[in-house]
């Protein structure tokens, strides 16, 4: 019978089924970080059990870490305690840790792919909703809660009900200045922040095929922002070329065998999807969010809706928080901060694009610009290519890797009431700090805001 890519991978990982419909899914790779793992390890200890397959779990410290002076002990005591706890747990249970100061440290969803740990056909989980990022390689990857982290540590398995399948096809050619981030913001603005709930999404179509791996990761990363469990893209030559020679990718004979297997990872022609959506790349423009969830997004030149439809109270609350008016245009509005970073847009391609745009330009007086690379490796590459010098000349602060102002767990917070154009994935109330007003956008749109101090259509500056 014709099968979707999702079902092919899922079926290959079912250990057993439970009466009533749930299935026990085997997990190939497990990533952990300091914030959502300590209670899971404590749970194991309380039960007197260990980690079943410590080699299949990999740890890094990212959410909490400072993005300056990483060679010094963490100043904030609670953060330091949590990071130390992770080191202690990893040592005790035999898990490899790429902790602070390690040349492979970075945001968990940036290091998995760049090390070649993320591969087609695998099942991968992490106690973090943006685990969906890894689906760009044609694997089933999704976020879990801490009880499930404990389950994976204890048994390398999870008890799950199979989600429905959706296919989102984007065909055509993207216009100048339109990036992967704009594709996904466009899709979420049409589907709403809840439109994908209950589904696993496969992205397909010529516009998706044309994306680099970095672009595909940006798209899959934000699958969760429409409520989907995850997103994935069938692997192809772009995927294989990216993975070849990565530290953890198979080599020699192993590579030949692996690649042959990966070539079977696609949805059969007549496979059934529970829901299908189509978009035209030509309809997609640079995007901005105006509200407090990623579904509240529009084309950069657009107007905020005049009312909230059947949801007036939440709409009004959201615009009030953002200091914006119904029906208003955002173009030309002054902003105070720009954050270029997060697992959505902090990879080397993002930094190159921003650097190329700002070369010979300078940030506006009134704006503070943080550029936070996704990993130590991205940081090293950026320095090797001289991007750090371009950022410095433009007045941008180039920092050390971590989640940073994406969620404001460390010192990198946006002050209350100020606007931040951010390349991250969430514009929730208080996400970047209490009272902070987040406007999500692509790295190019963010760079354009940095140099003008305003919300502008980057296409006019290219």
């Amino acid at each position: 019978m014709a099968k979707t890519l999702f079902d092919k991978i899922w079926n290959a990982h079912v250990v057993t089924s439970v009466k009533g419909g749930m299935e026990v899914l085997y997990i190939d790779r497990h990533l952990i970080h300091e914030v959502t793992s300590p209670q899971a390890f404590a749970g194991l200890t309380a039960r007197g059990i260990g980690v079943l397959r410590p080699k299949q779990t990999l740890a890094t410290a990212d959410h909490n870490v400072p993005t300056v002076n990483q060679h010094l002990p963490i100043a904030e005591p609670l953060s330091r305690f949590q990071v130390d706890k992770l080191s202690e747990n990893c040592a005790r249970f035999g898990i490899t840790l790429y902790g602070l100061g390690h040349p492979r440290q970075g945001i968990v969803h940036v290091i998995g792919p760049e090390l070649g740990i993320t591969q087609p056909g695998l099942t991968m989980v992490c106690g973090d909703s943006h685990t969906s990022t890894h689906g760009a390689f044609g694997c089933i990857a999704f976020g879990i809660g801490t009880s499930q982290v404990e389950q994976v540590l204890a048994s390398q398995c999870l008890l799950l009900s199979r989600p429905k399948r959706m296919r989102i096809t984007v065909d055509g050619l993207l216009g100048k200045g339109v990036l992967a981030k704009d594709i996904i913001l466009h899709i979420i603005s049409r589907l709403s922040a809840a439109g994908g709930t209950g589904y696993f999404v496969e992205y397909a179509g010529s516009a998706i095929r044309a994306l680099s791996m970095e672009g595909r990761m940006t798209v899959c990363n934000m699958s969760i922002e429409m409520g989907a469990r995850g997103g994935l893209i069938a692997p192809d030559e772009t995927t294989f070329a990216y993975l070849r020679d990565r530290p953890f990718a198979p080599t020699g004979e192993g590579w030949v065998r692996a690649e042959a297997g990966w070539r079977n990872l696609f949805s059969d022609d007549d496979a059934h999807f529970d829901r299908e959506l189509h978009f035209r790349a030509e309809d997609i423009e640079p995007m901005l969010t105006y509200g407090t969830n990623p579904g509240m997004a529009m084309a950069v030149g657009g107007q905020i809706p005049a009312d909230g439809g059947d949801n007036p109270a939440s709409f009004d609350k959201s615009l009030h928080y953002m200091g914006l008016q119904p029906g208003e245009r955002m173009l030309g509005k002054a902003i105070q901060w720009v954050f270029i970073g997060s697992c959505t847009n902090s990879r080397i391609e993002d930094l190159r694009l921003v650097a190329e745009f700002v070369r010979g330009r300078h940030k506006a007086e009134t704006v503070r610009v943080l550029v936070v690379p996704g990993s130590k490796q991205v940081e090293a590459e950026a320095r090797a290519e001289g991007l750090d010098k371009i950022f410095a000349a433009a007045g941008f602060e180039f920092r050390e890797p971590g989640c940073s102002a994406c969620l404001g767990m460390n010192e990198d917070k946006i002050p209350s009431g100020e606007y931040c154009v951010s390349t991250s994935n969430r514009n929730f109330e208080g996400r970047q700090g209490p009272g902070a007003r987040t406007i999500l956008a692509s790295p190019l749109t963010a760079a354009a805001a940095a140099v003008t101090g305003r919300l502008v259509d980057v296409r006019n500056l290219l």
């Binding site: 250990v15 026990v24 959502t36 809660g145 009880s147 389950q151 709930t197 969830n293 969430r426 109330e429």
Partner: protein
């Protein structure tokens, strides 16, 4: 995990839609390494102003509304996978969250910590909110065994669905790890098959 059978309680209404887990428990309060104490910071930035004073118009600061049941708007628990959101709700004293739509990860997390997510229809959600608005002392009964939620005073009720395995776990106070640890043989056999395939 604590056993769950029936809860009869007054309810706290929070009709906002798309309540994300960053609102339920903001990231800056995720630095604890135990599961306890998160209730203190539940809905922190809606409950307290920047000066730390309680916001008088937020429902949790209104002494009229108390109870073990939270009745919330559509798409409750979207966003971050932090299980801390479910811990915070449970730690605060909630045993049930009612909404017409739950985000997937939140619902799974809630079930794993013994907090029952009850998905009702939009019209029934409106009935619940109206009943609570008319009388904050309205008692609501959630019967897990019968998979039914009812407004005691009027007798209006609705069936809700729950996975049969998950239901069994809640009724008996089991969790998934108990189940998975018993599968060691199957898991090893699966690994051996995988190794053979490569």
């Amino acid at each position: 995990m604590k056993k769950f059978t029936t809860v009869t309680s007054t309810a706290v209404p929070l009709p906002n839609e798309d309540i994300d887990t960053d609102q339920i428990i903001p990231a800056r309060f995720l630095k604890a390494t135990t599961r306890e104490g998160f209730g203190e910071n539940l809905f922190r930035d809606w409950r307290y102003g920047a000066d730390g004073r309680p916001q008088p118009d937020f429902v949790l600061n209104n002494s009229l509304y108390r109870g073990e049941i939270l009745v919330a708007g559509r798409n409750f628990g979207c966003g971050s996978s932090r299980e801390h959101a479910a811990w915070a709700l449970a730690d605060f004293g909630f045993r049930v969250v009612v909404s017409s739509f739950f985000a997937d990860i939140f619902a799974a997390n809630a079930l794993n910590v013994g907090l029952l997510p009850v998905k009702v229809s939009d019209p029934f959600l409106q009935q619940l909110l109206a009943a609570i608005a008319a009388d904050p002392g309205t008692a609501i009964t959630v019967d897990l065994k019968g998979e039914r939620i009812a407004i005691d005073a009027t007798g209006e009720s609705e069936q809700f669905a729950i996975d049969p395995y998950k239901k069994l776990c809640l009724l008996n106070g089991y969790d998934d790890i108990d189940y998975l640890l018993n599968l060691k043989g199957e898991i090893e056999a699966f690994e051996a098959r995988m190794a053979g395939r490569q």
